[in-house]
C-alpha cells in the first residue's frame, strides 16, 4: 500500500466518522433534558423510602450501594498496593542514586512563621468541615468520600506547618491500617448483616428516624457514609504519609519513625 492510498483510506474513514458523529448528535435529547425514567422515579420516592434529604447520598449508599462498595475497595486496594510497593526490603540500601528529598546534604528550608500560623489556624476548621461532611450525607449533598479527603487534609496542614513529629504522632501507621480496614470492612459488613437478616444485600435495615434529613435519619445511609469517611481519610493519610517519609525529620534529627518497616527509613540523623 502506497502512502497515497493510505491517506485516501484514512480520509474515507475520517469522513465516515464525522458523518456518523454529526448524525448521532441530531438524536440527542435537548441540553439539560434527562429522558430516562430512573431520575424522576427516585426523586418521587426517595424521601418516603429512606428519610434522606441528601438524595445523591441515598443513591450512592442505598440504591446503588453495591457500586459504591466496589469504588471503596478500589481506594483500599490502591493504598494497600502503595504500601507494598514502597516498603523497604530486607537488605535494601539507599545508594548514590537516592532521591533528592532524601539526600543527607539536602538543605531543609525553615518553615516561615506566616505559613505556620495560617496552617495551624486552618487545622481545626478543616477537621470540623471534614467531620461534618462525613456525618451529614443523609441531609446534604456531601458524603464520606469528600469528608474523608478533607479530614486527611487537616492532617496535611499539620505537616505543612512543619510539625512532622506531631503529624507522625497523630497518624500512627497501625491506627491508620486499622481505620482503613474498619471503614472498608464495615461497609461490606453492613451489607452482609442485611443478608444474615434474610434481606437483600445492603438493604436498609436500621430505623429510618422520624424527621427527614435529621442526623439520626436514613438508617444505613448515614452509617455507611461515616464508614466510608473513615476509610477514605485513613487511605489518603497512608498514601501521602508513605510518600512524605521522613523528609522534614532530616533537619530536626529527633527520634526515629515509629511503627517500623513500611517504606520508612529507619536511619536517624542528629541534626
Amino acid at each position: 500500500m502506497t502512502p497515497r492510498q493510505r491517506l485516501w483510506l484514512f480520509a474515507a474513514g475520517l469522513a465516515g466518522l464525522i458523518a456518523c458523529y454529526l448524525w448521532a448528535f441530531t438524536g440527542l435529547p435537548g441540553f439539560g433534558h434527562y429522558p430516562g425514567p430512573y431520575g424522576p422515579a427516585i426523586l418521587k420516592h426517595v424521601i418516603a423510602q429512606t428519610n434522606a434529604t441528601g438524595v445523591v447520598s441515598a443513591v450512592n449508599f442505598e440504591y446503588r450501594g453495591f457500586d459504591t462498595v466496589g469504588e471503596e475497595f478500589i481506594l483500599f486496594t490502591a493504598a494497600a498496593g502503595m504500601s507494598v510497593v514502597l516498603r523497604r526490603l530486607r537488605g535494601e540500601r539507599e545508594g548514590q542514586g537516592s532521591p533528592a528529598d532524601d539526600a543527607a546534604s539536602r538543605p531543609v528550608p525553615a518553615t516561615s512563621s506566616a505559613i505556620r500560623v495560617v496552617t495551624l489556624l486552618l487545622v481545626g476548621p478543616t477537621a470540623i468541615i471534614g467531620w461534618w461532611l462525613a456525618t451529614h450525607a443523609q441531609a446534604n449533598p456531601s458524603g464520606g468520600f469528600q469528608g474523608g479527603v478533607i479530614l486527611a487534609t487537616a492532617l496535611f496542614l499539620v505537616y505543612l506547618s512543619g510539625e512532622f513529629i506531631v503529624f507522625r504522632r497523630l497518624s500512627p501507621v497501625a491506627l491508620l491500617d486499622a481505620a482503613e480496614a474498619v471503614g472498608a470492612g464495615g461497609f461490606a459488613a453492613v451489607g452482609v448483616t442485611a443478608v444474615a437478616l434474610s434481606l437483600p444485600y445492603l438493604y436498609n435495615y436500621l430505623p429510618l428516624g422520624t424527621i427527614p434529613g435529621a442526623v439520626s435519619s436514613s438508617g444505613t445511609i448515614a452509617l455507611v457514609s461515616f464508614l466510608v469517611g473513615i476509610e477514605v481519610a485513613a487511605a489518603f493519610v497512608l498514601i501521602i504519609g508513605e510518600l512524605l517519609g521522613q523528609t522534614l525529620l532530616r533537619g530536626g534529627g529527633r527520634g526515629g519513625r515509629q511503627g517500623g518497616g513500611r517504606g520508612g527509613r529507619q536511619r536517624v540523623r542528629s541534626g
Binding site: G54, V56, S57, G97, S98, P99, A100, D101, A103, S105, R106, L133, P141, S142, G143, F145, Q146, V149, I150, A152, T153, F156, F236, I239, I240, L243, L244, T247
Partner: protein, 84 residues
C-alpha cells in the same frame, strides 16, 4: 436578565474556561508548574460541576482534583528527582 439566562451565561463561561484550562495543562512542559496548573484546572472543573448543579461532585472534585492529586504528584516528583 432572567435567572435562566444568567445560568446559561455562567455555564458557557465556565465551559470555555475549562477548555482553556485543559489546553494549558496539556501545553505545560515543566513538571512542577504542570502540577500547579493541574490544581487550578481541578478548581475550574469543580466550579463547572457547581454551575451544572452537582454540588456533591463539586466537593469531590475540589478535594481530589484540586488538593489530593496535585499533592501526590508533587511528592512523587520530589521522590524521583535526582539531587542536583
Amino acid at each position: 436578565m432572567t435567572p435562566n439566562a444568567v445560568m446559561d451565561v455562567l455555564q458557557v463561561t465556565v465551559l470555555v474556561l475549562v477548555a482553556a484550562g485543559a489546553t494549558l495543562v496539556v501545553r505545560t512542559r515543566d513538571r512542577v508548574r504542570l502540577v500547579l496548573v493541574l490544581s487550578v484546572y481541578g478548581m475550574l472543573l469543580s466550579i463547572l460541576f457547581f454551575a451544572f448543579q452537582a454540588p456533591d461532585v463539586t466537593l469531590s472534585e475540589l478535594a481530589v482534583g484540586a488538593i489530593a492529586l496535585p499533592l501526590i504528584l508533587l511528592l512523587t516528583i520530589a521522590k524521583v528527582r535526582k539531587p542536583e
